[in-house]
């Protein structure tokens, strides 16, 4: 056979794609992981949706659907709007949340800026102290604060003042972590450039650093708000009397004692309020960072 002879066309098989079994194909669709993720999401959120559903129940049961009705929201006796303790608790939760944000955010941002840029051994210690509240069990934080307000800082009465101080204490750590990670990723070049152009440090902070940090500041404000609204243990130790109850305390106290769907309604109201605040923040974030390639959600999520 001569080398120049080519085999007949029919004898050459077309190049076939080798069929790799699915489990060997690294580029296949991740069915299993996707399934797990969606199953988790359903497991995580559907119970809450059902709880919301039962807040519209026409009847006292929280496990048997008896028809649609707004009776638990308004204006029957037993509904949220007719129950002064529930309305009080909503008001307390919201006021406390807003006040906590207003105090904790500046405190935490200043702390984050100070600790990140300050290089000395003292800063390491301060850093450590600031992170501990994040990992301390709430019962330790709550009971320690309770003991100190009762025995040492007696000029601070239990109730709103003590709760505010308690909430801010653990919130500062959240702000610190979020803003710090953003600061670290920003780096020092912008401030150096500002300094080269003649600005002093304060001006540098005001005109360069703060605007760059705004997404992180907003994200941390949102998280502080949510954490304060959600807080149970510290509030339970420090609330003193029923007029200072927040929604979680009221729910907890009522859960085992003949609860009605009014509890579900209260929880739903709080949930809707929180989500509205969240959407508002995300919109503000979107407006501010037009052009950046990070989505607002990722800003929120990316603090670990």
């Amino acid at each position: 056979m001569t080398v120049t002879e080519r085999p007949a066309v029919s004898e050459v098989s077309a190049p076939t794609r080798t069929r790799v079994p699915p489990w060997r194909n690294p580029w296949r669709r991740p069915y299993v992981l996707a399934a797990i993720t969606w199953a988790y999401i359903l497991w995580s959120l559907v119970p809450v949706l059902i709880a919301i559903q039962f807040s519209f129940n026409d009847g006292r049961s929280r496990s048997t659907w008896q028809g649609f009705s707004l009776q638990w929201y308004c204006c029957n006796e037993g509904s949220v709007f007719e129950d002064p303790s529930m309305l009080h608790s909503l008001r307390n939760s919201l006021i406390l949340g807003i006040a906590t944000v207003l105090v904790a955010t500046p405190l935490g941002v200043a702390l984050a800026m100070g600790l990140t840029r300050w290089r000395s051994r003292a800063s390491g210690v301060a850093n450590g102290i600031a992170l501990i509240p994040l990992v301390t069990p709430e019962i330790v934080v709550g009971s320690a604060l309770y003991l100190v307000f009762v025995n040492l800082y007696q000029f601070v009465p239990l109730g709103r003042p003590a709760m505010l101080l308690g909430h801010v204490t653990f919130s500062v750590s959240y702000v610190l972590v979020i803003v710090r990670s953003r600061l670290l990723s920003i780096g020092g070049e912008y401030e150096e450039a500002a300094r080269d152009l003649g600005a002093n440090s304060l001006q540098g902070i005001r005109t360069i650093l703060l605007p760059l940090l705004m997404p992180a500041v907003f994200a941390s404000a949102m998280i502080v708000f949510a954490a304060s609204l959600d807080d149970f243990v510290v509030s339970q130790f420090l609330f003193g009397s029923a007029e200072n109850e927040t929604v979680p305390i009221l729910l907890y106290n009522s859960v085992r004692a003949s609860p009605t769907p009014a509890l579900n309604a209260l929880a739903t109201i709080l949930l809707v309020g929180t989500f509205l605040a969240l959407i508002l923040t995300v919109l503000v974030l979107k407006a501010r960072r037009r052009g950046s390639d990070e989505s607002a959600l990722e800003t929120l999520a990316d603090w670990g």
């Binding site: 006796e77 037993g78 029923a242 106290n253 085992r256 004692a257 003949s258």
Partner: protein
């Protein structure tokens, strides 16, 4: 007047949600193991009472049913004068258990005297004492029990009553116009009385044994058995049921331990849980057998689901009054009250038969008013026939067991054993 359990005005309510954690405060400072004498009690004022001998060194009188106490009236803490005008306007602050007074009663009082009535609740006497002592706080009414009264009088937390404002005192049982913990009703009048028994679902319990506490140990009801979440009531019940001792205030560590061991059996035997919500759980069917206070079955009528009648509820209490565990809550006026005259008037109102009856209709716990006997309450539809034994009668008060003030070390014994029970099997 016929009583309609479905009356919407008598709304469903949560009586004494965390009553369990009440009691306590049997403290006083007397020298015990490891505790030094507190400098706070340097002033050993005159207590003018009998019973010093059994005091064990307490600086104030420890009342016992067989050692009654007349609380002293000090010059520094005199009652208000006679014939004063009631205060008007502002807020009238009541320090009480949560949901323990009918909103209608409070609203009517507020309207009549042009004040807004507010309730600050507490879950136990520790909380109550912390609140009443908070500087800057002023409450017009407070509800202490016999176990904490002496201490409050000694530390000037309550003021003596002026009986000229309380003509309705005569409506009370005579025993309560002159109780053992407060002879002459100098500082308190009773608010409610109650006993401790067992509430059960009559439609699920086949037969009630002679010692009804045995229902709690019956495996047939496993998973639906509840104890009161109150260490005294639970351990005390075990002491009585197991015939360990007749003294429900015992300081004998071995006895307390035996009683607790018996309770610990329940954990594996019937998967027992602890709660103070018998009034809702038994009617709703979550519990078949629930240790409870006598007001629970009465309140429980409101929590029955649609279509069920009070016949499905049952209440057991020991036959003999001497075996019954009873207790009472009282009304007192704090020294810091801003409206003491109004406070007297509200107390007088609560002693009125009609208002007392309305209050009872709402919270289910009976006031010791002579007119409101078991027969009266049953005849007027407040209590169904099958639950008529939930009414406390005068004989019970005279002979029943009661929890009184004990030393901190005794309390510590009870608490430690209760923690042992709560730690699981």
């Amino acid at each position: 007047m016929s009583f309609d359990p479905n009356d919407p005005a008598l709304r469903r309510r949560r009586p004494r949600p965390q009553l369990a954690r009440r009691d306590v405060l049997r403290g006083g400072l007397w020298v015990t193991v490891g505790l030094g004498a507190a400098p706070l009690l340097s002033a050993c004022g005159d207590s003018g009472s009998s019973g010093q001998a059994a005091n064990g060194g307490a600086p104030y009188p420890l009342a016992r049913p067989d050692q009654p106490v007349t609380l002293a009236i000090k010059d520094s803490n005199a009652p208000i004068g006679d014939g004063l005008e009631p205060e008007e306007g502002g807020t009238f602050n009541i320090l009480n258990y949560a949901q323990y007074m009918a909103p209608a009663v409070m609203k009517n009082f507020g309207k009549e005297h042009n004040v807004s009535v507010e309730v600050t609740p507490y879950n136990n006497y520790d909380e109550m004492l912390a609140k009443i002592r908070q500087p800057g706080e002023s409450f017009d009414l407070v509800f202490p029990g016999p176990s904490v009264l002496s201490k409050m009088v000694f530390t000037d937390l309550v003021q003596p009553l002026n009986h000229s404002y309380l003509p309705h005192l005569k409506n009370l049982w005579p025993e309560y116009q002159d109780p053992w913990y407060d002879r002459g009703a100098r500082y308190t009048v009773p608010y409610t009385i109650y006993g401790t028994g067992v509430m059960y679902r009559a439609d699920r319990v086949k037969s009630v044994p002679e010692v009804g506490y045995d229902l709690l140990w019956d495996k047939a009801y496993a998973g639906k058995v509840y104890l009161l979440d109150d260490r005294q009531e639970a351990i005390g019940m075990s002491l009585l049921r197991n015939d360990i001792t007749g003294d429900v205030n015992t300081a004998d560590a071995a006895d307390i331990q035996k009683a607790t061991d018996s309770l610990i059996e329940l954990i594996d035997l019937v998967n027992v849980k602890t709660d103070v919500n018998a009034y809702s759980e038994v009617p709703e069917g979550t519990a078949t057998v629930h240790q409870c206070w006598s007001g629970d079955p009465i309140a429980g009528q409101y929590y029955l689901p649609k279509g069920e009648t009070p016949e499905v509820l049952g209440y057991w209490r020991p036959e003999s009054p001497a075996d019954y565990v009873i207790g009472s809550d009282n009304i007192a006026i704090p020294k810091s009250a801003a409206k003491p005259v109004l406070a007297h008037m509200l107390i007088n109102d609560l002693l009125d038969n009609k208002i007392g009856l309305d209050n009872f209709g709402w919270n289910g716990y009976q006031p010791p008013l002579t007119k409101l006997s078991a027969k009266y309450l049953t005849d007027n539809g407040y209590i169904p026939e099958n639950l008529s034994n939930s009414v406390v009668v005068r004989g019970d008060f005279e002979q029943g067991h009661t929890f009184y003030e004990v030393s901190p070390s005794t309390e510590a014994l009870w608490q430690t054993d209760w923690a042992r029970f709560k730690a699981g099997a």
